[in-house]
């Protein structure tokens, strides 16, 4: 346990934190778009799961990682579209529509994996992403390996944070998005199409959730496992509340949870006698504690959960 104090330990730990935050950042940004438009998308967990599968199968057959990523994004958009049809056009319960999508997408992912791959004793692998060290910067001692030697998807996730912030706060689209989520009647009266904005937000959300899924099978691991997403979609739902629907704060929440995940991973290796499950509980437990602390101050978009119909 003495290696707690070494630089190597901390560099490894911080780099792992950033790496493990990646899917959380992507999925939480996605959910932020959905909820900002007034739609809670509980399809997140299943959309991530299917994205992970789509990425894996595509890369497995084409040997192209980026085609895999693209497949995950497109599959996410399709589930986003389905969510929009159910929750926006038909105006059905957002809770049940989202859960239905998660059940369907998860079931489909398992079904397709078994149909295509079967159940071999050794699950097949793909050649997953290598890290992409940034020239010069990655050579800086300590700082380099922590920040500048990551997967391309990790850099993309971090860059998308300011992009999402810009879109939501500095563009006409973002203004429409926020007004549709806060007061759809008023938005409608000034000529903003509530349904179009919600559709677009859910498709963007789906794309980001699918992208998050691809990280598991193409970067974090190099294979598809049935519990590969492991509730990170649900953690993302909580992170949106933690971030108070503000993209920049998503970053802090995701890093916090990436950190807890990283602690779990490190301690699993070092502990003796304590069941490793204790460490796996940590992120879920922390999420619940965090929700208790912030629940009263959470400012949900006013129109969330309410379908919009013109009378």
């Amino acid at each position: 346990m003495s290696d707690f104090l070494t630089v190597t330990f901390w560099v490894g730990f911080l780099a792992a934190t950033i790496r493990l935050a990646t899917p959380l950042i992507l999925a939480t940004l996605g959910e932020t778009f959905a909820e900002r438009s007034g739609v809670l998308n509980l399809g997140i967990e299943g959309t991530m799961m299917f994205g992970a599968l789509a990425a894996f199968l595509t890369t497995y057959f084409t040997h192209s990682l980026w085609l895999g990523v693209l497949a995950a994004v497109v599959s996410g958009m399709v589930f986003g579209l389905l969510m929009a049809f159910l929750a926006v056009t038909l105006g059905l319960s957002q809770h049940v529509s989202g859960l239905g999508i998660t059940i369907l997408a998860t079931g489909l992912a398992y079904y397709l994996y078994r149909a295509v791959i079967g159940s071999p004793t050794v699950p097949p692998h793909v050649d997953s992403f290598n890290t992409l060290p940034i020239p010069l910067l990655s050579k800086i001692p300590v700082v380099g390996p922590i920040f500048f030697d990551h997967f391309a998807l990790t850099y993309i996730a971090f860059l998308l944070v300011p992009v999402a912030g810009y879109v939501i706060y500095r563009t006409t689209y973002g203004l429409s998005l926020r007004s549709v989520g806060e007061n759809p009647e008023v938005a409608d009266s000034v000529g903003i199409s509530v349904h179009k904005i919600r559709y677009s937000a859910l498709i963007i959300a789906g794309a980001l959730m699918g992208l998050a899924g691809s990280f598991f099978t193409l970067a974090e691991f190099n294979l598809f496992l049935f519990d590969i997403v492991g509730g990170r979609g649900w953690v993302s739902i909580a992170l949106v509340i933690f971030a108070n629907w503000i993209p920049v704060r998503v970053l802090w929440g995701a890093l916090l949870f990436g950190g807890v995940d990283a602690i779990g991973l490190r301690l699993q290796g070092t502990s003796i006698g304590i069941p490793f499950q204790i460490y796996l509980i940590l992120p879920y437990l922390l999420t619940i504690i965090m929700l208790i602390l912030i629940a009263r101050n959470a400012s949900y978009p006013s129109a969330m959960l309410k379908p919009y119909r013109r009378e």
């Binding site: 059940i103 079931g107 398992y110 079904y111 499950q277 796996l280 929700l291 119909r309």
Partner: protein, 354 residues
Amino acid sequence: MHLPKYKLEKRLPPPLWFQILTPVIAVVISLLISSIFLLAIKQDPLQAYLYMFRGAVGSKFAFLEMLVKATPLILTGVAVALAFTAKFWNIGAEGQLYAGAFAATWVGIMNLPLPAPLYILVVVLAGFAGGAIWALVPGYLKARYKVDDVVTTLLMNYIMIYIVGGILSGPWRNPKTMYPASVEIAQNADFPKLIAHSRVHFGLVLAVLAVIALYFIVRRTRLGFEIRATGTNAGAARFLGINTLKTIIYVAMISGGIAGIAGAGEVAGVQYHLIQSISPGYGYDGIVIAMLGRLNPAGVLLSAIYFAMIITGAQVMSRSLNVPPYIASVIQGVTLLVMLAMLLSFEYRIRRER
């Protein structure tokens, strides 16, 4: 050119035959949609469904095995239906089932000096208590701190499943086999068989009792009135003097307790010891069952039996045909969404505008 316009129009509550027919139509449409996925892997949907049907009810053995599967599904369906009636979004029946199984095993392996009927009662109560306590946490957090119930119930599933995993790989590991499973519970704690030479056990009686209890609680008691009022319009319910916070907490505990009994049944009626895979997702199935049954007791019973047929049927079919058993989950997801969309027809009808 003048296109006719269509408009959704509110309508009066639909007649009873329509309410009964809707789930049946939803089931048929769902099977039609799901056949796309069978065709996609070059399988004949008709043949696949026929094999599933035969696998579920084609023989006495198949039928009884289907009932074994239906037992936990009825219970989780009832648990979710009760919670959803109060708009307590309990997505945590899976974790509550594990908590119930955990508690039931705990008293089961104590080898208490009790005669069989009494020991069984203790096991059932322990299962109820385990599930109730596990659901009390999100119920209390929602009532007291307005913490989102969807997220907490879901996350607590993972926590309980890991707790069970930790216990089984640590303190409760079977010392003889070294397998991560508890030792067998006391024989006096085993649920009796209802039918000789089958696995149908006393849990089925509990499941049917739970259906009756759901009807009785929701329709015939003061609490039921408060539950329905809280679910329909919490603001108005408070105005009527209903303590909605207390209602939510009661609902959470009863709902969790019933899911916990499902766990106790799997331990004391099927496995006789606690294993990590005590539930392959019965808690999540409960959500689909409750929705297809329209949160109605008889509906929940029928839809639990339907999904028990789908799940057992899919398992049997996958052994003969080259179709993954996960087609059952696909059918579930499709059915949930189709049923949800069809419920819209209860409230609205499409009218052509002139």
